[in-house]
């Protein structure tokens, strides 16, 4: 009995049980929830949140936070769209640099990673609290987006780019493939590499990690850079799906990402949590959003309910920590 108790910790399965109960309730309460179309619709919708939540998980595991992912998503989406549509003109050299789909995406990713690097650099070298450093980046990246787009959407990006957001491959939507690839890479990174073990160690006890010789600053800078890169992936997906880069894209996406991380069981004080938990958290939020819409619940009440679910998740997490 003791060994059974040791091996079966219900806290590990809380998110899964919550998802199962939620799906069961929505299947009973709505007509369309269990349809195949709705399933893929939900999966497509959560793909973007999964990408940025995975990045957020890495940051939270180091006991940090990244509030800038929504704005970075918007800026990288806009940069990708702008380069793809208009290229770069240098009149003084009578030069036009055109970007292919690959080139525009790579540029968007580089910008995302670069902005994440700035976050990491501010946090580690200047000891700016992560909340403040990324809050500053939130407003800066939104400002860059407005400057780049001049406040107007960039539309008409072409079918091959749009395929990334709306296409299907082997019966599965492309955004699901891409977010799946992100998840698998992150799972390998966190569970099978030295870098992953460093992330957990830093979040668990930063001082002990420093004394053990872990290059804390380097790891943290990498973590924030990856979070920025994954926000850029989300930006490309959103832009491809809408065939348009919107200057106000990604507003409050960081909150959904933090919610997914917390619901997925990652501790906000760092060192504890998994990528799979975050994926479950993102699915729970996506299913909850979808179910509330299918049940014609007012958008105002949807906000209240989502907030309550997040609060409940944190309370359960705290009580689990105490019992451990």
């Amino acid at each position: 009995m003791i060994s059974l108790k040791k091996n079966f910790n219900i806290a590990q399965f809380q998110s899964l049980i919550a998802l199962f109960v939620l799906c069961l309730a929505l299947a009973l309460l709505t007509d369309n929830f269990m349809s195949t179309d709705n399933f893929w619709n939900v999966m497509r919708q959560i793909s973007v949140n999964v990408c940025i939540s995975v990045g957020m998980t890495l940051v939270v595991l180091t006991a940090g936070i990244d509030l800038s992912v929504g704005s970075i998503l918007a800026f990288c989406g806009a940069v990708t769209a702008g380069l793809l549509k208009n290229g770069l003109s240098i009149p003084s050299l009578n030069l036009f640099i055109g970007f292919t789909v690959l080139g525009a995406i790579v540029a968007g990713f580089l910008i995302g990673g670069g902005l994440g690097f700035v976050n990491g650099y501010a946090v580690t070298k200047f000891k700016v609290p992560p909340f403040v450093a990324t809050l500053a980046m939130l407003t800066m990246a939104r400002g860059f987006t407005m400057l780049w787009t001049k406040g107007h959407p960039i539309t008409g990006l072409g079918g091959s780019f749009g395929f990334l957001g709306t296409g299907w491959f082997l019966g599965i939507p492309m955004p699901v493939w891409i977010s799946g690839l992100v998840v698998i890479t992150a799972v390998i990174l966190t569970s099978k590499t030295r870098f992953g073990r460093y992330i957990y160690a830093i979040g668990g006890n930063e001082n002990a990690s420093r004394l053990s010789g872990i290059p804390i600053n380097k790891v943290k800078i990498w973590v924030y850079s990856i979070a920025g890169l994954l926000a850029a992936v989300g930006g490309v997906l959103v832009t491809a799906r809408l065939d348009s880069a919107q200057p106000n894209a990604g507003i409050s996406y960081e909150l959904d990402a933090i919610a997914a991380v917390v619901i997925g069981g990652t501790s906000l004080s760092g060192g504890r949590g998994t990528i799979w938990g975050t994926v479950l958290g993102a699915i729970i939020i996506g299913v909850l959003n979808n179910g509330l819409i299918l049940m014609n619940v007012s958008p105002f009440w949807q906000q209240v309910i989502k907030g309550m679910v997040i609060l409940l998740a944190v309370i359960i997490d705290k009580s689990n920590q105490k019992s451990e």
Binding site: G87, S89, I90, P91, L93, N94, L95, F96, I97, G98, F99, T100, L102, G103, V106, A107, T155, G156, G158, G159, D243, S244
Partner: protein, 215 residues
């Protein structure tokens, strides 16, 4: 003993070599460079000219479409009998949703000339002919001639509405506004936008395509 460092160096060289080749391949497939003046000249040839397109269809296809439209009084009667079937038979729309666009024509007596519109009494109905705020996609979508799927760039598609509205503002409205007065009889063809769920038939707002005064 002495071979180990050499092996490590070789491995490193191979790794860096692969990295450089990969970067070069990505770079080569990412960008292309050409003279700016050449690019601008190409753009001028390929940019969709909405005004030219609208000019091309104005007197033929569009005029024909707006001649073949519902009498507004009959349309109102039809709505009073069955909203859904009237929408199904007479409206055009971009996709799913409750908004439908209708081509309408009619003749009425001017009851008021306002700053932004002219009010007509058409039978027992009051109709508002817009003369100031000529915006939106009613003219384009009611025509049923322009399909969104024909345009890769939605901005091109939207620019057709802008060009149509511009032409109405420049060619139809000024001469009408300068002559119209209360008591005139006015014939009109135009487009209206209606919401199936929130249908309001009081004082329908018409974006005019043609306006003709017969005192």
């Amino acid at each position: 003993m002495s071979t180990k460092p050499t092996e490590a160096m070789n491995n490193k060289a191979i790794k860096y070599g692969i990295g450089v080749v990969a970067l070069a391949l990505v770079g080569y497939n990412s960008i292309y460079i050409q003279p700016l003046d050449q690019k601008l000249a190409e753009n001028q040839q390929t940019v969709f000219n909405a005004k030219a397109y609208v000019d091309g269809i104005w007197n033929q296809d569009l005029a024909k479409a707006y001649q073949d439209c519902s009498d507004i009084s009959q349309l109102i009667d039809s709505f009073n009998q069955d909203v859904n079937s009237t929408f199904e038979k007479n409206s055009h729309a971009l996709g799913i949703g409750n908004i439908g666009y209708f081509r309408v024509k009619g003749e009425g007596i001017v009851s008021a000339v306002n700053e932004n519109n002219v009010l007509l009494q058409v039978g027992s109905s009051r109709i508002e002919i817009e003369t100031e705020f000529i915006f939106g996609n009613a003219l384009r979508d009611a025509s049923g001639l322009v399909k969104i799927n024909d345009y890769e760039d939605t901005a091109d598609f939207n620019s057709i509405s802008e060009a149509m509205n511009d032409r109405i503002r420049q060619e139809v409205i000024p001469s009408f506004r300068s002559k119209v007065k209360e008591g005139d009889s006015v014939k009109f063809e135009g487009a209206i936008e209606l919401n199936k769920v929130h249908l309001n038939l009081d004082q329908l707002e018409v974006i005019p395509f043609t306006l003709q005064i017969s005192s």
